[in-house]
């Protein structure tokens, strides 16, 4: 074993492959511990409360390394933040609090959207809010006055009156320009002044200013503001488990069937051969699609279906050809002479001989099943609750990510799929050369 391992290490690509596989396994273990399954599923359901601070379809932060322009990240400031200054003035039946939110703007592109989330406790009369924007040169713009409920969201971009005031530009653009040239934002220190008038002493109001950026997190976000990192991370253990189990299940089943078929020969062999031919005619992917549509899209059901449909796959023929030679070996003859049982010969003498052939085959097949899971997800038949790589690709496609230029959304899961596939394939090939040296050099 150690000798084999050393031999694999002679192939630099295989070393890279092994390192990638170990990394992927590490990521999987980390993910399962850091983001428990239930939490991942809940997060991926995409409730507003979990993700409201994220911009929609924002590229990952490392995009700034590649673009000449500096794109803004999301800025979140709430009234308890120490950067926000406040001033309290008592009135005879309530009080007026004036908060100043500093917005240091040093980017080459506009924000995506601006929202303010209010929460308030009041007894009878709802507090009243007035907003003023002070731009880099100190010029003031009245943004709007409104009364807020117990929870209230002010979306600046959707305020028609404000847009009209900014000569048809939405807030995130109009507020950062001089309204003459709206193609580029003006850098500088901006301020948002918020005046909250409450009408009884006990009223507590908090406000959270969210300036949605063009970038978010190391993975970016999707159309429902979800952080893609959840699905990218969770996709890893799912892809690895699915690929490994499916490859293991099908290869071992095929090996055993081929062994039985060759050993008994005669009508059993004939029958198994015919079944493989019939199996060839059963359309694999359409049948899986059918199962996914009619019964269940659960990943376990699909996994079992994949294995059941593949046990009579074409691999049997390959194994059978080798078993034919093994069957004629003298040690099998010897076993027969001393009266070893059929199952002993098949499982203890014949099948172990093919394990060197099985292992590389198994490893090489893993990518095929990883991609199969992704294919089903791209057809909209992914597991309904699990976040997987295929599902990200599916959602990016159904939201026209390629048309819109949101390439990160497609490329991130694709890159992970590709890396995984290449790593297993490269290692599988190296294993094949080590375990089956006859083929080497050709």
């Amino acid at each position: 074993m150690l000798r084999n391992f050393k031999e694999i290490m002679r192939y630099p690509t295989a070393v890279a492959g092994v390192i990638i596989i170990l990394l992927l396994i590490g990521v999987s273990i980390y993910t399962v511990i850091a983001i428990p399954y239930e939490k991942a599923v809940v997060l991926w359901r995409g409730n507003e409360a979990d993700w409201y601070q994220n911009p929609k379809t924002a590229a990952p932060v490392w995009m700034n390394f590649f673009t000449k322009e500096d794109l803004p990240e999301t800025l979140v400031l709430d009234t308890t933040d120490e950067r926000v200054t406040s001033e309290v003035r008592e009135t005879n039946n309530g009080r007026v609090i004036t908060y100043t939110f500093p917005v240091e703007f040093d980017f080459d592109a506009f924000y995506d959207d601006i929202s303010i989330y209010f929460k308030s406790t009041y007894e009878e009369k709802a507090p009243f809010v007035g907003l003023t924007w002070i731009d880099a040169v100190g010029e003031e713009t009245r943004l709007g006055n409104f009364s807020i409920g117990r929870t209230y969201t002010y979306r600046m971009g959707q305020d028609r009156k404000l847009t009209a005031k900014l000569r048809g530009n939405t807030a995130e653009i109009g507020l950062f320009t001089d309204l003459k040239d709206v193609s580029k934002p003006i850098k500088g220190d901006y301020k948002l002044v918020m005046e909250i008038v409450s009408f009884d002493k006990s009223t507590e109001t908090t406000a959270e200013l969210v300036m949605y950026g063009k970038l978010a997190g190391w993975a970016g976000t999707d159309h429902r503001r979800r952080d893609l990192s959840i699905a990218l991370l969770w996709g890893t253990p799912i892809a690895l488990t699915f690929g490994l189990l499916a490859a293991f299940g099908t290869s071992v089943a095929q090996l055993i069937i081929a062994g039985v078929s060759t050993w008994f020969g005669g009508w059993i062999d004939q029958l198994i051969q015919r079944i493989t031919e019939i199996n060839l005619v059963i359309p694999f992917l359409p049948v899986l699609i059918m199962i996914g549509t009619f019964y269940s899209r659960s990943i376990l059901v699909i996994l079992s279906a994949v294995i059941v449909l593949s046990i009579f796959g074409s691999g049997i023929k390959t194994y059978r050809a080798v078993f034919m030679q093994v069957k004629e070996s003298t040690y099998i003859e010897a076993a027969k002479t001393y009266g070893a049982s059929n199952s002993r010969i098949i499982f203890n003498y014949m099948i172990p001989r093919l394990i060197p052939m099985l292992i590389p085959q198994l490893v090489v097949q893993i990518p095929a099943y990883v991609f199969l899971e992704a294919s089903l997800a791209v057809l909209g038949l992914g597991d309904p609750t699990l976040p997987t790589w295929g599902k990200i690709i599916d959602e990016s496609r159904s939201n026209q990510a390629l048309f819109q230029g949101w390439y990160y959304w497609v490329l991130e899961p694709s890159a992970l799929l590709m890396i995984t596939a290449l790593a297993f394939t490269v290692v599988g090939y190296a294993l094949d050369r080590v375990f089956n040296p006859r083929l080497r050099g050709q």
Binding site: T13, R274, E277, I278, N279, L280, V281, I282, P283, F284, L285, P286, V287, I289, M290, I291, G292, T293, F294, Y295, S314, K317, T318, A321, M324, V364, P367, A368, F371, A374, S375, V378, L379, G380, L381, I393, R397, L402, F403, G405, Y407, V410, L411, S414, L417, M418, A421, L422, F424, T425, V426, Y429, Q442
Partner: protein
Amino acid sequence: MAEAASPATSPKPEAEKKASAGSGTFGRVAKYTIVRIITMSITVVIGLYLTIMIANMGGYVDNIRKAQIREEQNSRAANDPAMRRLPLAERQRLVEERIQLAEKRLGLDRPFPVRSLEFLRNAIVLDLGRAQNMTSSSGSTQVRLIILERLPPTLILFATADIFLFVMAIVIALALSRQYGSWFDKFMVALTPLSSAPGWFYGIFFILLFASVLHWLPFGGMVDSPPPPTRIGYFLSLLEHMALPVLSITFSQLFLNVFSWRTFFLIYSSEDYVDMARAKGLPDRDVNNKYILRPTLPTIITSFALLVIAMWLGAPILETIFNWPGLGRALYQAVTAFDTPVIIGSTVIFSYMLAITVFLLDIVYALVDPRVKIGDEGSR
């Protein structure tokens, strides 16, 4: 596949017996064909039956259909003024009666084994029922028409891709086997792991690159909309739309095939009779075609057959990615619309296509494998 691995004996007898084979060859190939047709038909029937059993496992689909009938009858009763005037009990009895009748009409009241045989017969004669939501472009809801309309685009795309791939792979593999160990050879071999990703996956990248970034080729579809009026224009537009899907299929399959075929060529070109032929002073071209390519063909065709089958099965996803209006996308649309008859119908057709592919390649195999052509004495 394994039987073809003893090539040394095959070319020589073929050359000797070529003259005497004459009339017998046709008879043997015909006999072989007939036997294959019969075994293939039995295989297809069993395969179809299994597909139907899976599609309807435990009468699950029938339950869906029964629920649909119930829903339909209920809503019809609710919209019928004459029915509304009846007392509730009477109305319910009538609705029940109608449901029974509708189920009987569709044969849903018979036991499942009997019905499954009925389904099998219908599938064999391609009587695939009526779609629930989808229609063909002429407006028909017959599943057969919907599917037949989608078949030509699929055939065009995959036949082109198959032929393109086959020719490319053979040419490159032959070239590599001649310059074994050169940098080009090493380069191509190093690219082999790329074949672990399926065609649709590269499709996404190619769409990104050629359609989204460079704007050279269309995102998807089969022809421009509206379709060009002239025949040449139509053809050019078709070519333009076909470029990316064909490229994706080729890219995902080429390297592995080049690698394995190159290996076959290398094995066969190290045979003694090849050295002999070269020693005789035969031109390279003849040595390549007659002494290396010829005996390798059966092996190559077997491996290509498995590849073509695998490609067929990728059709639903590849066509979905490229919006190609073929059978695979019909299946995808049927899944989205939950159109049971179309889903089952397309699966049945895929089954048939696989059978036809296997059969055709069998015939080609028979034509190129001298052991079939010259009879049994050459084979063992």
